[in-house]
Structures are given as structure tokens and as C-alpha cells.
């Protein structure tokens, strides 16, 4: 009996020991898990590839592509085989705004004749070369008065026009430097800054077609690289180098042959991290006050307009000379980060703040931004380091044994919880990915429409990507994303961006380029690099922008503007007496520019029923785009007919 009792007591004792042991282990384990939570992997962000956009909106300018050729060429997944036909969408977006994109196979002679300007992209020309009927179509189109732009055509295509001799043909020359003076046609010494190169790499090969009876040419390295000649009643503009490719690889960046981002500059102390500026094709671009891509594009645009009287939507609204965007990045400063917006609201200034999800950010902080006229975007934190801003913990109540990095959807959800609905993004630290297209696919999948992650590192400033206008990046299938990238022009005092430099940048933009100057001033700079001169330059930049007649835009205003440009129809008719332009401004404040040439001041009539011209305010003045003079007509939203009478000289020449 005693033995049984003893055994039972022993079992009870062992059980008690077991319970105590389990409790001790459990409590200690729970403590350690809370202190050192287990890191769990983050789920990959969704991706959505770009799709081929085709437009047939009745524009008089069109880009012809062959999407099957594009797909085939990108399927090789190598840079050298890739096709950049859709790179032309950015040229046309900037220079014209309103244009069609057509499959070349879907365009017959009749529909081709509806266009005044037709751009044959690399892919379209490839199909063209293999289809004599299409070639004939092109020859007939130009003969009948059309303007064809051919991107890097083959010798066979040149031969169809019979304009070039075959002497010295195929002697290609590797282009190395693009000299600015050729494009600006101005005294560079008056503009050049110490250390800023007046020529930049072009990474291309010029094709020598032999001698061409040229109407006009633009040279690179003493070689004609753009050649215009009259043909029949029309004209042809040849890009004798792979222009679509150069534009894309300069604006969007240059990956390696395997389409990977190269860690070119290893700066900012994050030598292992890829940043957007690692995509910059050449270090010469890291400190450039010249928007190279825009300059070349505008040179082309001016040439085309001069030959066709093509009216276009100006790149800046109303009577302004450029667009100025102030942006702020919130680096987990949280609610107090709205201090800049408070200041801005006192003077009627606006800005766009990219907010990073963090425990310090509440809806009050978001409200402080928006109630002071600011706009909000996401500051996507892609760092995988263990800071609170980038991690989310999982558990029960205050016990959080699991942790994982916040992915894009988690960061969007955070902003959602603060009632922030945005489709604008900027990556924290401008961090980029080894796959240079993936982040755009992530953003595309998440519904973003604008990205602002292309920008300078601490040692950079200016037009790193050659452009000051939003562009539509290409996916690695050759199609354009339906989201824009707007590069940052300068960040605070990075690489000596002082007030004098900012003033010069804005003045040059106002006089020549009329682009989007996009400034970045962090709301937390005083925490990590305090400097009063940054504060001064932030405040002064507004004054300088206003002084140089820039209009101040937020992200949504910029988006509305570029949307309005691309959806507002323009058509025009030319005869020996006059040029008539019909346009339908879908948004107020669009500015139409028409090459001045020998055109007299236009007469304007309204095509909207129930409205008379006396009821609207129309501004007619002149504007210069890189030394080419244009009539500028600014009118409210509505349909207008403009009639420009041609001078006698013009009539004789143009017919």
C-alpha cells in the first residue's frame, strides 16, 4: 500500500516537475522570442508586365510599330538584340503630346494618307523591308506630301528612294561624343560651367548611307546623323543612328548585355546596393546642366515642325516657361514631417511628400500635409535592414515573436490605414533592383501611375537621365508601362547644388527646354546632415522658380497635364494661303505652339456651341524652344479653330 502511495506520489512529483520545467522553459522561450523575434521571409511583390498600347485616335502624327518583331527581339533577353521602337513614344509624347500608335500591318495606303507625320520605328522598318507593298506605300505617302521619319533605316530602304549613291556605303563609325554646341547653336562659353562637359557619350553607331541630296542635316562628330530631304511633295527625315535605342537607354538607363542593372558608381556608402543612378549610362551625365535627350528631341521636333507647320502642345502649361515640382521625402520622421508644408502654405506654394510607413506617422501627420496644400505619395522603403520603419511584427498583443520586412503591398496597406490613396511613388534612397524592369512591374501591378525614383546620389546633380519630362519606361518585352518616370533634377545641396546653380538651371529651362524641374528636399535633413544653406535654398528655389516664370505643380497636377496633352486632339490643314489648326483642349491652360516661320498672328474662333470668343481669355504671344520661334496660344478648355495667314514669301517657298 505504501509502495503504491509512494509510486503515486512520485508520479505526481514528476508531473509537477514537468509542469514547472515546461513553464520555466515556456516563459523564458517566450521572452527570448519577443526579444529576438524569428525573421520570416517576405512574400514577393506582385508583378504586372507592360502591355503593348496601340492608339488610333485620329491624330495626324503616328508611330508605326511591329509588335511581333518587338516581342521576338526582346525574347532573346539581351541588350544588343532588344528593340526600342516604343522608345519613340517618349519622343512623340514630349514633342507632340497627341499622337497615334499603330501596328504597321494595320495601316493601309488610305489610312496612312490621313497622317501628316509618320514615324517608322526600328520594328516597323524591319517588316517594311520584307514587304514590298508596304515599301511602295511609304514611297507613295511621301511623294504625296507626307513627312516620314525613319529610325535607322537599312540601305535597302534608302535605295528605294534612289537618292543616295552607294559609294562608301556601310562605313559605319562608332559615335562616342555628342557635342552640345551643334544642337544648341549658341555660344557655349556663355553657358558652360567649370567641369561640366559640353559633349556626352551617345553609345551608338552611325550608318553611312553614301551621299544623300540633303535638304537639311544635323551632324555628330562631323557626320550627318539626322538627314532631311524633300521627296516629291513630301519629305523624309532619316535618323542615321539608332535613335530610339539611345533615347531609351539614356532616359531609362543602361543595363548590361543581360539586361541587369550594373553597380556602376557604388556611392553613398551603400556599395552593395543598387540605386537608380547606377543606370546612368556614363558618369558624364552625373553632373549635367544639359538635358541631352530633350535637347536632341527638341532639335528633331523643331526640324519636323519647320517642315510641316505641325502645331503641338507645349511642354509647359499656360504662359509659363517651365514646370517646377517641389518634393519632400519623409524618412520615417512621421507626423512632424509636415513642417515644410506648413511653411509652404503660408506663401501659396505646393509640394508632393512621399511618406514612409512608420510608427511615427499617423493620420494626423498625413492630414497636416494635405491640409496645408501638400500631396502625398508612397516612399517605398526597400531596405532590408532592421529598422522599425521597414519591419512589421506578428504576434498577439505586445508579444511579437515573428518579424518580416514590409513588402510593397504591406506599405500600401499601411498608407491605406491612414486613409492615403495614392498612385505616386518614390523609392527610399532611390534603391533599385538588379532586374531594372521589375520595380516598374511591381508598381504597375499595384496600380501606380507615376514614379519619381530616378534621381541623384549625394555626388550628383542635374539631368542624370538626360531629360526633364516624364517618360514611359519600357518593360523587358519592349512595351511601354502605363506609368511615368519623372527624374529628380536636384536634391538639396547634393554635389554643390547651390542657389547660383539652381538659378542657372531654372533660367536655362525657362529659355530653352521648358521641362519639369523636379526638386527634392527631405523633411529630415536636419537630423542627418544639418545645414542652414539647404533650408535657404529650399525657400529660395520657390522664388527662383517663380522669378523664371515656372508654374508650380504637384504630382497630380503634372499627371493631369500630361494626360491632357495626350488626349487633346490637334489637326491641321495647310494650303498656299494659310495654315488652319483645329484643337480640342480637354483641360484648361494647355498651350498650343505653332512654328512662327512666316505665319502671321492667328485669328481664333471657338467651335463650342453657345460660347463666344469674347467670353474666354486667350493669350497669344511668342515663345522660343531652343532658338526656334513659335506662336503660343493659351486658351481655356474648349474647341478652337486657329487660322494663320501665310506671308507671300512663305507661300512661294511652301506652296
Amino acid at each position: 500500500m505504501n509502495s503504491v502511495k509512494h509510486k503515486a506520489g512520485s508520479r505526481r512529483g514528476s508531473f509537477l516537475y514537468g509542469v514547472i520545467g515546461a513553464l520555466l522553459i515556456g516563459v523564458s522561450g517566450a521572452y527570448f522570442l519577443h526579444r529576438y523575434p524569428i525573421r520570416i521571409p517576405v512574400s514577393a511583390d506582385a508583378e504586372k508586365a507592360a502591355s503593348f498600347v496601340l492608339k488610333n485616335d485620329g491624330a495626324q502624327v503616328t508611330l508605326l510599330v511591329d509588335t511581333s518583331v518587338i516581342r521576338q527581339n526582346w525574347a532573346h533577353k539581351t541588350l544588343s538584340r532588344a528593340d526600342f521602337s516604343y522608345g519613340w513614344t517618349n519622343v512623340l509624347q514630349q514633342e507632340f503630346g497627341y499622337f497615334d500608335i499603330r501596328e504597321i500591318s494595320a495601316v493601309d495606303s488610305a489610312s496612312l494618307a490621313e497622317y501628316r507625320i509618320v514615324v517608322y520605328s526600328e520594328s516597323a522598318l524591319k517588316g517594311l523591308a520584307e514587304t514590298p507593298a508596304m515599301t511602295k506605300q511609304l514611297v507613295e505617302y511621301v511623294s504625296a506630301g507626307g513627312m516620314a521619319v525613319l529610325d535607322y533605316p537599312s540601305n535597302e530602304i534608302i535605295d528605294w528612294f534612289g537618292l543616295a549613291s552607294k559609294k562608301n556605303r556601310d562605313e559605319r563609325q562608332r559615335l562616342s561624343r555628342l557635342e552640345l554646341g551643334l544642337f544648341l547653336g549658341k555660344d557655349l562659353n556663355a553657358r558652360a560651367d567649370g567641369g561640366i562637359p559640353d559633349s556626352l557619350p551617345v553609345f551608338s553607331t552611325i550608318r553611312n548611307y553614301g551621299s544623300v541630296a540633303s535638304g537639311a542635316s544635323i551632324e555628330i562628330q562631323s557626320n550627318s546623323c539626322f538627314e532631311y530631304f524633300n521627296y516629291g511633295a513630301g519629305g523624309m527625315l532619316l535618323t542615321k543612328w539608332d535613335f530610339g535605342r539611345w533615347v531609351t537607354l539614356t532616359q531609362q538607363g543602361l543595363p548590361d548585355e543581360n539586361l541587369n542593372t550594373v553597380n556602376r558608381y557604388a556611392d553613398l556608402g551603400h556599395s552593395d546596393k543598387l540605386e537608380a543612378n547606377d543606370l546612368v549610362a556614363d558618369s558624364s551625365y552625373l553632373n549635367s546642366v544639359y538635358p541631352w535627350v530633350d535637347i536632341v528631341e527638341k532639335t528633331l521636333g523643331n526640324l519636323i515642325a519647320a517642315k510641316t507647320f505641325a502645331p503641338r502642345w507645349h511642354t509647359t502649361p499656360g504662359a509659363s516657361s517651365g514646370i517646377f515640382m517641389m518634393t519632400h521625402d519623409d524618412e520615417a520622421l512621421g507626423d512632424v514631417g509636415a513642417w515644410m508644408n506648413v511653411y509652404e502654405s503660408q506663401f501659396g506654394y505646393t509640394s508632393t511628400s512621399f511618406l514612409m510607413p512608420s510608427e511615427k506617422l499617423s493620420s494626423a501627420g498625413v492630414s497636416a500635409v494635405t491640409s496645408n496644400g501638400g500631396e502625398v505619395g508612397l516612399h517605398w522603403n526597400r531596405f532590408d535592414r532592421d529598422d522599425k520603419a521597414s519591419l512589421e511584427t506578428l504576434g498577439i498583443g505586445r508579444w511579437r515573436p515573428l518579424v518580416r520586412r514590409r513588402n510593397l503591398s504591406s506599405q500600401i496597406a499601411w498608407l491605406d490605414s491612414l486613409d492615403v490613396k495614392t498612385s505616386y511613388n518614390r523609392n527610399h534612397y532611390f534603391l533599385w533592383d538588379k532586374d531594372p524592369y521589375r520595380l516598374f512591374r511591381n508598381l504597375n501591378a499595384a496600380g501606380f501611375t507615376m514614379d519619381y525614383s530616378y534621381g541623384p546620389d549625394l555626388n550628383d546633380k542635374g539631368y542624370l537621365f538626360g531629360s526633364a519630362f516624364p517618360f514611359y519606361p519600357l518593360d523587358d518585352n519592349g512595351a511601354s508601362f502605363e506609368l511615368t518616370e519623372t527624374p529628380v533634377t536636384w536634391g538639396e545641396n547634393f554635389n554643390g547644388a547651390d542657389s547660383a546653380w539652381i538659378a542657372r538651371l531654372l533660367e536655362n529651362n525657362a529659355s530653352d527646354y521648358h521641362g519639369v524641374i523636379n526638386a527634392l528636399y527631405h523633411n529630415n535633413t536636419f537630423a542627418w546632415a544639418p545645414d542652414y544653406s539647404i533650408y535657404e535654398s529650399w525657400r529660395l528655389s520657390y522664388e527662383l522658380a517663380q522669378g523664371s516664370r515656372h508654374v508650380m505643380y504637384t504630382a497630380s497636377q503634372l499627371e493631369q497635364f500630361i494626360t491632357a496633352r495626350s488626349t487633346s486632339p490637334i489637326n491641321w490643314e495647310i494650303d498656299s494661303e494659310s495654315v488652319e489648326v483645329y484643337c480640342d483642349a480637354t483641360q484648361p491652360d494647355l498651350a498650343l505652339i505653332v512654328p512662327m516661320l512666316d505665319l502671321y498672328r492667328p485669328t481664333i474662333s471657338i467651335h463650342d456651341a453657345g460660347m463666344s470668343l469674347s467670353e474666354v481669355s486667350v493669350i497669344v504671344d511668342s515663345v522660343s524652344v531652343m532658338d526656334s520661334a513659335y506662336w503660343r496660344i493659351v486658351f481655356p478648355k474648349g474647341k478652337y479653330l486657329l487660322s494663320f495667314e501665310r506671308s507671300s514669301t512663305s507661300r512661294e517657298e511652301g506652296g
Partner: protein, 564 residues
């Protein structure tokens, strides 16, 4: 079965052992994150009798025996604060003598004295006969325009006949009351005083509190005799140095209000009505009192050619390290200067060099709140210990690049977070013990609190709980950028009509724009310099105060001016 039972039992016991080990590790780990604070030994210096006999025209007479005796009371109200007069004289005249009543009649040539102030201690108890003898001698000495001030409330209350004879028949003081209303409308003073029900014969009232005369003036042969019936010493200490509980403990009034934990210097502020005083009310009272005693407003400017005083901009570094040099760098571009007060924790020699080479002053910002030693092994540091004040001073001096050590103002200090001790003068004793000669910790903190909490912006010598001066100076500041700063403050603070000889000094932290950015603060920082220039205030360093006092051979405990 047996084996299984054995295994379960063993496993159960092992689990307890393993669990206990794990729990121990967890506890060790926990204390590494939340270590136990161990107090640090600080050297202290205590208040000591201070006497000076250099043949100055103003003589303060004290009774050190009486002060020492009362100083043992352990009670603020019982302690004799006669030495409170030295701060009025330091501010108004700079140089004066302090003699013990026992040496009164052997204090050299009586003719050199013009003004004799007999403090409360010197004319109480058994000393009245000595005072009478002195006055008799003074009468006979043919000293022209001699002035004698008698601070005698207790003596009169006791109905001391000798003193009454001096004043004249017919004067009676009956009751002892709290005086609150002062002749200066803008502030309230609160001190003990006597209400005279009958005016002393032949005396005129010169100053009233509550419409009650508290200062009478009469003539005794060639002597202008002043009778103060309020306790000026206690008043001066209460306002300037602050008022603790009667047992000298300090109650966290402001910190309790704002939810902050430690006791801060502002908790000493005597009355909540001083929380938003933008004029130097006590200095103005001292100017008035001195003018009555002296017969003319003849205060001495601390800085030659600048009767209104000076302006000092200060920056607390707050662990920002070398980056904190940005303000000094910018001020150099503006052509102005400031003092940066640093904790020798995050800053390096490079930062120190940059501040000094930008022309800034570099002083000490001792941190007794968040700057700790963590003895132990890696991962096993369950204890934290403050760096002593002396260690922090030494560390700063060691950080200074060679050749720039002499440029440091390492004996000038402000406590991080304005942290004070639970004992009235405990912190002062420690600071003095660490070799600090000018402390700047007195100032406002918290919402709705700014300005002259201590009635003054002139350095004063604090008194210890024994009633004797401590070898240190205290200079209160007026506002901090991150503590409810408002642009309107500047209008009042830089209104020169409201002050004279003030060392207007303010705090703009080097890191506020990092954690609580606001354009108002940057404006206030720059605007303060502009206002100072418009008010013709020279922009100086804290060390200039000590240098000027030294150059003027100001009367004060010698160790203050002997510190480096």
C-alpha cells in the same frame, strides 16, 4: 515500466534545471536591456564664509557666527540668508567689502567706507551694541554722505532698545506679516516683513509693499540712515536661487505638470506667477533698491560701453556629435558667434575643432540622464552608472585637439535636461566640486513656461543650505527653442527699455530641427541675433562674463574666478 517512470522523472527534473537556467539567462538578458542604475560618487564643495576687505566704498556686514548657527537648522525659513546681499552688490557695484561683525570696530580706517549695509545677521542677538558703537564712531569721523542700511526685522520685533534708540523714539513695529505687493507693478514678490504701525520719528517711507512702508529713510547727524523692515536676503535667494520645501527637499512641480520624470532646475522657481515673466523683475527691483541706498542709479556695466548688457546664443549638443557644428558654421557666415555645450559622448575631436575654428565657444553639457558606463561583459551588462561630472569635464578636455585645450570653456556647464537634485543645493555642490565655475542650468522647461523664472539674467552666487556662498556662479537662461518658443517672446525680451545690464541668453539646440523641425525655430535662431544687434547688445561668449568679472576684480569667492 520502471525504466519509463525513471525517464519521465529524470526528464521532468532536467526540464526544471534547464528551465531555471533559461530563465536566469532571460533575466540577465532583460537587465542588459533595462540595467539597474548605480549611483556615482561625486565630489562636493560646500558653502563657506566669504569675507573681503579691500577698502571698497561699500561694505556688507555679516555675522558668520550667527549664520553658521542658524545654518544648522535644516530649515529654509530658519536659515539666515544675509549673504543674499552679495548678489545685489555684485550686480550693481561689482566691488564691495564683506566683513564679519566681530571685526567691525577693527576694520581699518572707517573713513574709507561710504555705504554700510548691516545685514539681518549683523544686527540681531548680541551685536546691537557693536552696531551702536560703530555708528557713534561714524558720526564722529566726519565721513561725508555716509549711508547706513539696517536690515533689522527680528531685532525690531524683539523690541531691541539699542536699535530703537538709533532710529528714534516713537517707532513701534507690532506684527510680522507676509508682504506680496511690490512697488514694481509687473511682478509679485513674496517675503516676510514687518508692518510698522507708527512711523519712526523723522523718517520718510521710501518703499512700500502692500501699501505698507518697508523701507524708511532718516538722518542721524551726518549719516543717511535706511531702515529696511523686510528680509531682503531671503527674498533674493527665494527669487534668484529658487524656493525648495522648508526641509530643502525639492518637489517636482513642473516635471509633475508636464509628465516628465526627473527633477529639473525649473522646479525651484518660487512661484507659478513667474512662469511667463518676460522682464527681469528681480533685477529691476535690485536696481531700484540700490538706487535708494546709493542715492543714484549708478550700477556698473559688466561690459564696457554696453550698459544694456549682452547677448549670448547657446546650443546644447544633445548627443548629436560632430554634426552639431552646423550652427557654429552658419553663424560664422552670419558674422556672429555662440556657445555650443557638448556632452563628451558622441562628439569627437573633429567636431570640437570645427566649432572652435568657427569662432564658437565650446562648453560642457553634462549628461546625468542618458550617458552611462556599462561595466560587464559583452551581452552581460546589468548595471549602468553615470559618468561623474568631473569625468565628463575631463573627457571633454581630453577630446580637444592639441593646441585648442585652452580654448575650451570646460568649467562652464549646463546640465542636460536641466536635471537637478532632490536637494536644494546638492547639484550646485557637485558642480562646484567638479570644477564648474559658471553653471547655466537654471531656465524654463515645459509648456507655457518661458522668460525670467528666476527674475534675473545676471550671474549670481548661490548660497548653500548653511547660508554661506558656494564657489560657483549661476546664470539663468530665458527660453529653449523646443520648449514652447513663441516669436512674440523676442519682442519683450529684446525690449531694451525693460532691462539694463542683462546677459540675455537663450538656447537653440543643435538637434531640434532633426526631431521637431519648424521654420519658426530657424527664424527665431537667426532673428535673435538680429534683435540683439538692433538692441546694440554685443554678442558674446559665456567665458566673457567670467573674464569681465575677473578684469573688474569683482568681489566674490575667490575660487570662482580662479577656475580655468
Amino acid at each position: 515500466m520502471k525504466t519509463s517512470a525513471f525517464s519521465f522523472s529524470t526528464a521532468a527534473k532536467l526540464s526544471v534545471i534547464f528551465g531555471a537556467m533559461l530563465l536566469t539567462l532571460a533575466a540577465v538578458n532583460y537587465f542588459s536591456f533595462y540595467p539597474i542604475l548605480q549611483s556615482v560618487e561625486e565630489q562636493e564643495r560646500f558653502g563657506e564664509p566669504f569675507l573681503s576687505n579691500s577698502g571698497e566704498s561699500i561694505t556688507l556686514v555679516v555675522d558668520t557666527t550667527m549664520i553658521r548657527a542658524l545654518g544648522k537648522s535644516g530649515s529654509f525659513s530658519q536659515t539666515d540668508w544675509s549673504y543674499g546681499w552679495i548678489n545685489l552688490l555684485l550686480q550693481e557695484a561689482r566691488r564691495y567689502d564683506v566683513i564679519d561683525i566681530s571685526a567691525l570696530n577693527s576694520a581699518g580706517d572707517i573713513n574709507h567706507g561710504k555705504i554700510w549695509i548691516f545685514t539681518r545677521s549683523a544686527i540681531s542677538g548680541d551685536t546691537d551694541q557693536q552696531v551702536k558703537t560703530f555708528l557713534d564712531k561714524l558720526e564722529q569721523s566726519n565721513v561725508e554722505e555716509a549711508v547706513v542700511y539696517l536690515e533689522a526685522p527680528d531685532t525690531l520685533a524683539a523690541g531691541n532698545e539699542v536699535i530703537q534708540q538709533l532710529i528714534g523714539a516713537g517707532y513701534h513695529a507690532r506684527h510680522y506679516s507676509r508682504l506680496t505687493q511690490t512697488p514694481l507693478a509687473e511682478f509679485n514678490l513674496s517675503c516676510d516683513g514687518l508692518a510698522a504701525v507708527t512711523a519712526p520719528s523723522g523718517f520718510q517711507p521710501m518703499l512700500k509693499f502692500n501699501d505698507t512702508p518697508v523701507l524708511w529713510q532718516g538722518q542721524r547727524k551726518g549719516i543717511r540712515l535706511l531702515l529696511g523692515v523686510f528680509n531682503f536676503g531671503e527674498l533674493a535667494v527665494t527669487i534668484q536661487q529658487g524656493r525648495p520645501n522648508d526641509d530643502f527637499s525639492v518637489t517636482p512641480r513642473i516635471t509633475k505638470r508636464t509628465g516628465l520624470l526627473p527633477i529639473v532646475s525649473s522646479d525651484l522657481c518660487a512661484d507659478s506667477s513667474y512662469y511667463m515673466q518676460l522682464t527681469p523683475f528681480f533685477d529691476n527691483f535690485e536696481h531700484l533698491l540700490f538706487e535708494i541706498i546709493f542715492g543714484a542709479p549708478s550700477y556698473a556695466p559688466l561690459f564696457a560701453g554696453s550698459p544694456d548688457g549682452a547677448f549670448i546664443m547657446s546650443h546644447d549638443e544633445e548627443g548629436m556629435g560632430d554634426k552639431s557644428a552646423w550652427m557654429a558654421r552658419q553663424e560664422r557666415l552670419w558674422g556672429v558667434t555662440s556657445a555650443t555645450l557638448v556632452t563628451p559622448a558622441a562628439i569627437t575631436s573633429k567636431g570640437i575643432e570645427e566649432i572652435l575654428k568657427a569662432g564658437g565657444e565650446l562648453a560642457l553639457h553634462t549628461d546625468q540622464y542618458s550617458y552611462f558606463k556599462r561595466p560587464g561583459l559583452p551581452g552581460l551588462r546589468p548595471i549602468k552608472k553615470n559618468h561623474s561630472l568631473a569625468d565628463q569635464k575631463r573627457s571633454l578636455e581630453q577630446l580637444a585637439p592639441r593646441g585648442l585645450v585652452d580654448s575650451l570653456s570646460s568649467s562652464i556647464n549646463r546640465n542636460h535636461w536641466l536635471i537637478w537634485s532632490g536637494n536644494y543645493t546638492g547639484m550646485m555642490r557637485k558642480l562646484a566640486g567638479a570644477g564648474i565655475n559658471l553653471d547655466l542650468t537654471y531656465g524654463p522647461i515645459g509648456e507655457g513656461i518661458a522668460g525670467y523664472l528666476f527674475g534675473t539674467c545676471f550671474p549670481f552666487v548661490p548660497l548653500d543650505t548653511n547660508g554661506f556662498p558656494l564657489p560657483i556662479l549661476e546664470l539663468p537662461f530665458l527660453f529653449q527653442d523646443d520648449e514652447d518658443f513663441a516669436a512674440e517672446y523676442l519682442d519683450s525680451i529684446f525690449d531694451t527699455s525693460s532691462f539694463q545690464n542683462e546677459i540675455v541668453n537663450v538656447v537653440f539646440h543643435t538637434n531640434t530641427m532633426g526631431h521637431s523641425p519648424d521654420t519658426l525655430l530657424l527664424w527665431g535662431w537667426r532673428e535673435s541675433f538680429k534683435r540683439a544687434k538692433n538692441a546694440n547688445l554685443p554678442i558674446l561668449h559665456y567665458s566673457d562674463i567670467v573674464d569681465s568679472l575677473r578684469a573688474q576684480r569683482a568681489t566674490m569667492p575667490a575660487d570662482i574666478l580662479n577656475q580655468n
